[in-house]
Symmetry: C2
Subunit: 178 residues, 2 copies
């Protein structure tokens, strides 16, 4: 089973070492991890040669996701109360393909609590008057909702440590149990 | 043509008034705007009755997107350097369906500039050592890449005013021109 490893892990100081750790955890469970920085098995289509690098990367990641059976997303908050938007894009993409999506995070605070802390408010709205979503979920309801509807789980530890992979490994174990 | 109106507009103080403004701009152009808070034409499927409200909303929005021909996303930054994650989920969802995605924002600064300002750094990484994506795009490359690949455009004004719909209307005009 091919598992797409979505996450801001590509931004970590040594992304290839990170990829190796994630893939090793997959391999221990008989899964094949696919990391966003991997080359496509068949190489890039010739038509992409004229695209700017960033757009080639985007096409490649879409192709990786489409080639996988399941997606596991690192949804730890990045630069704000929510998960990395590139990762969340990929969660939505896989959800529309109708395949299972799993999520993990190293911040166990509910989304509303993180958002209020970020905005420095206690009530239902932020300083600009925009509502603070508060359904007791781990992040925006589209994310939690898609994971549940797809048959996956969203597991959160609370180490707030990018190097901690225990919630990721718990996702893989949940996936194996089916 | 049915247009899904993705965005954090649902969090604005009077979301129904906002929906009416967005839909009126669509109607002026012969388009049918579909807002996330709309009921489904056929109502919710009976199977959703047992779901928590947040998960029903998520399912409903997925159904709305699947019923639309095109998606227009308000990608103005929300509580951090990037767009609202719920909106970005929906961009990824529509992209996987293979239909056009348009984006607009009222903050014209490049993504890297917004991220550096948010993190309070000048260089290539943030204080935690994570890379700052810098391809000269408007947001994370999955978002910009998907919009371009889908045949849409990502148009940015710089008013930083939630009430300014000029970039949204420019998207509708671009859509009409095809």
């Amino acid at each position: 089973m091919r598992v797409y490893l979505a996450g801001p892990d590509v931004f970590l100081p040594d992304p290839l070492a990170r990829a190796a750790r994630l893939k090793a955890a997959c391999a221990e469970r008989g899964l094949v991890g696919v990391f966003p920085l991997d080359a496509l098995p068949q190489g890039d289509p010739p038509a992409w040669a004229s695209l700017p690098e960033a757009l080639r990367i985007a096409r490649r990641n879409e192709a990786h996701i489409a080639s996988c059976d399941v997606l596991v997303a690192n949804l730890s908050p990045l630069r704000g109360p929510s998960a990395d938007v590139g990762t969340v894009f990929e969660v939505g993409f896989m959800r529309a393909l109708g395949r299972p999506v799993f999520g993990w995070s190293n911040d166990a605070r509910p989304f509303a609590e993180r958002t209020r802390a970020f905005c420095g408010v206690m009530g239902e709205v932020d300083a600009a008057g925009l509502l603070i979503e508060d359904f007791g979920l781990a992040d925006n309801l589209m994310i939690d909702g898609a994971i549940v509807a797809s048959g996956g789980v969203f597991l959160c530890g609370d180490s707030r440590d990018w190097q901690d992979l225990s919630a990721f490994e718990a996702c893989l174990d949940a996936m194996k149990r089916g």
